[in-house]
Amino acid sequence: MHFRIIRNDMLKSKAITLTTMIFVAAAAMLVSLAAILIVNLTGALDTLMIQAKTPHFMQMHSGALNTARLNAFAEQDANVEDFQVLEFLNMDGSQFRFGNRSLANSVQDNGLTVQSEKFDFLLNLDGSPIQASDGELYVPISYIKDGITKIGDKANISGKEFTVAGMLRDSQMNSSLASSKRMLVSKHDYEELKHAGNVEYLIEFRLKDLSKTSEFETAYASSGLEANGPAITYSLFKTLNAISDGMMIGVILLVSVLVVAIALMCIRFTLLAKIEDDYREIGVMKAIGLRISDIKGIYLVKYAAIAAAGCVLGYALSFVFKGMLLENIRMYMGESENTSLAMLFGVIGVLLVFGAIIAFVNGVLRRFRKISAAEAIRYGTSQEKASGAKRFNLSNNKLFHTNAFLGIKDVLARKKLYVTMLAVLVISAFIIIVPQNLYNTISSKSFIKYMGIGNSDMRIDIQQTDHMSEKAAEMLKTMSSDSAISKYAVLTTKTFKAKMENGSEERVKIELGDHSVFPVQYSEGTAPRVEDEVALSVMNAKELDKKVGDTMTLVIEGKEKNLKVSGIYSDITNGGKTAKAVFTDQSAEMMWVVISAVIADKSLIGSKVSEYTDKFPFAKVSDIDEFMAQTFGSTISAVGKASYSAIAVALLIAVLVTLLFMKLLVAKDRYSIAVMKAFGFTNSDIQAQYVTRSVFVLIVGIVLGTLLANTLGEMLAGAMVSYFGASAFQFTVNPLSAYLLSPLMMIGTVLIATIIGTSRAGQIKISESIKE
């Protein structure tokens, strides 16, 4: 009997059943994908770290190294299974040139290394250690993937020619979050280039028992051995490797939670409507002695059928899409061995979705308990009083047209039902506005101030050349007599040693010059104004553990000097670790010079850029928009694409849900519709009432969604951007698109969906529907 009831019910409401099933399938697919990805990620990660023999504990160190003492420690400690010291030849990014492109703007510490003999191997894509021949260069996978270079291309490192021979998997530094990148060359080539950089040491240990890592870590730290640099353990390597794909999994999980929420909202809506419809029948069933669980069963079985079908479909779909998402894991880490386990976890994930739906339906059906059999049979409707809206009467309504009044009155009287639709529309508005605002913010010209660069029109970089200061002076002379340039400033970057409280030294890049001409965004404090002030980037302040007002000791012209931290600013260039000061210095080596200029007549920017490029071939002259596009273009366009797809997805959700709800409401309200038609309301009157209902709910939804987007959404986006070093983040909102076009787009789609969804209202026959 159940089967027939379900079949008839579904056939009667095909669109509704289908939409619900689509949402369930999407949710099941996403959850299954997330499960499959998690299992594959951990599996592939384990394989990679076993093949590469990743160290269990690594101490980075720069400065002198006492090998004998380290050897003695390693031999003495019972935990140590194996021990080695690897060299990492850290070179400035500008030393690496691939074609006409350098790594000067790379946020990574780039360096060379040779293949290890004992463990911590750099692997090829088959998972075996690479042996580099002379003249061969192996680069991290991400450099190939991001298009910085290609296999077979020529590379130039500090004047020496190489051929890019392949990609390497680095179990330590694969992730873009690891701040260093190792490139592999032959021993011979390495020795030849050793003069061009600073050697840092990787002091690495393999332990007999991995569970004793923290014990060993303490032992090493307290032994007073070399420790000028961070120490990293096996589990942290694992985390670093997992984090980018982990973030993708996180996003998928987040989206799946949203989709599950929407699916549950749809179910709640249809179920509440159905209960209202069947009120009398439920009462009769109760009256003739059926148990509540029996009555629930009839409804549960239908949703169990929809959920089961959706889950199976979603699981099947997850197999279609998993290859695409696993590509990254396969490339960076290799194949996972536990594919069957992945399928099992996928099934478990899908079962969880199924269970959640059943539990939810069961929860909604709890209200059966409250239905009084006598009341249901007598009145056929719930006698629960509609709260509020009592004062909102037709007889004293002056504001709205009668149709509009009826629409609004219905929403107010059936809040429980409409709150479901509202929730979905709030989510849609949020999904539309947040990515759009983020895109608008990072693509706006003023975003440059978060990048640690002032707002200018033209930027001139002088680096990798001799006599930089003379060349800069020569350019400045030309610029000062150029009437087209309304203002300019020179910033010279030099490296200084900073003395830390614990006695160690850190190298800090400091931009010297007048910082008041092109101010940047300070999250705290102000720009340095006097000789003994210094401003730090957010990331540097964090790393050096300094706050505004703290003092910092720098070695300037051979003497230690105390500077006061005047401010902390956003910077996402040069890895986010920079500083600004105004003092003069003649001793330290000049790393690069940046000249920023404002051109009075904006139409001349292009011609000025080419004029200066021709006149000063040693300098890189760029239009600031172009500069932004180069350093940030891929991120901006990725966010742009994401925001467009977010709009499409959100509109699709809004359309589907509105269609579903309207169709259902019309089916449910056919009695009221028949009554109104009998008393002379036209079909367009009825449609106007439904349009009012959805537009009313939509407007509330847009307002709430926009408020949420500008508070919660801004916080979320700010947290994301702060990871790159920008602080004090605020949305730059384009009011036209965020507050006019987007709402209009939503209203337009919801209107169309409402009109389509209520088109059946006109076909309702009075004579058939008016007799209950």
């Binding site: 037709l394 009287a413 009221s672």
Partner: protein
């Protein structure tokens, strides 16, 4: 006497092919201004279908319905709605009220569609009507807070709001006890005395006995008619007797 509605050779059928059967099988009816008419017949005889056809609420498969020189079968949906709203009133067996609105709002709803500007006048008129049928104190109540008889009176008020030419009643007392039914019939009589035509569909001889012309239907056709003098409050039993005799005569 002037005719308000003319139904000419009305045919209405349900079902397809072999299943097809005519619920109205060539019925012709005329209703005059100010007339008080009843249609009687057993279930399935087509009496409600005739009412839906004459009021333009449901289309017909053959014949025509003329009101104000217009064939209701040929005019558009919107014009039909306008005619129903301005020239006709309806009272159904079950009180057809919108759940979300209170009694007063339900009554003024059809009038408010066109004349929102005159809300004050419309409300005044509604209150006067409510007073007339004895439910003046119920205007703020929800429709679930009043009795069936009270709801039916509210329904009559709603039907009268636009001063229609004719009121259709489909078993208007069918769901009421005899005391309430009698009170409702008193109201219909008063409405009719004031000049509005009333057409009632019923199987209750006591209801039909209040009217002046009774049409008897069987199998989709009007098989007989009975004219009675104007009801003055006396001789109810005699009128009922006449009707039951006629019913036996035509076999219903």
């Amino acid at each position: 006497m002037k005719k308000i509605i003319i139904g000419d050779q009305l045919v209405k059928s349900f079902g397809e092919g072999d299943e097809k059967r005519n619920v109205l099988d060539g019925v012709s009816v005329e209703i005059n201004e100010g007339e008080f008419v009843a249609v009687m017949g057993p279930s399935g005889s087509g009496k409600s279908t005739l009412m839906f056809a004459l009021s333009g609420t449901d289309g017909v498969n053959g014949g025509k319905v003329i009101m104000d020189n217009k064939n209701l079968a040929e005019i558009g949906e919107n014009e039909l709605s306008d005619i129903r709203r301005t020239k006709m009133g309806f009272v159904f067996q079950q009180p057809t009220m919108l759940k979300n609105l209170n009694i007063l709002d339900n009554i003024i709803l059809p009038s408010m569609r066109d004349n929102r500007k005159n809300a004050a006048q419309i409300t005044e008129k509604a209150r006067a009507l409510m007073k007339r049928v004895g439910i003046a104190e119920l205007e703020k109540r929800d429709i679930t807070q009043v009795s069936g008889g009270q709801l039916q009176r509210a329904g009559i008020c709603r039907a009268l709001m636009n001063s229609p030419k004719i009121i259709f009643g489909d078993e208007p007392t069918g769901a009421l006890n005899s005391k309430s039914a009698q009170e409702i019939m008193d109201i219909f009589s008063k409405i009719n005395e004031a000049g509005t035509a009333v057409m009632l569909v019923t199987h209750d001889a006591k209801v039909a006995a209040r009217t002046e012309r009774i049409m008897f239907m069987r199998d989709g056709a009007i098989v007989s008619e009975l004219s009675l003098p104007k009801f003055t409050g006396t001789d109810m039993d005699g009128r009922i007797e006449q009707i039951t005799v006629k019913m036996r005569e035509v076999g219903i």
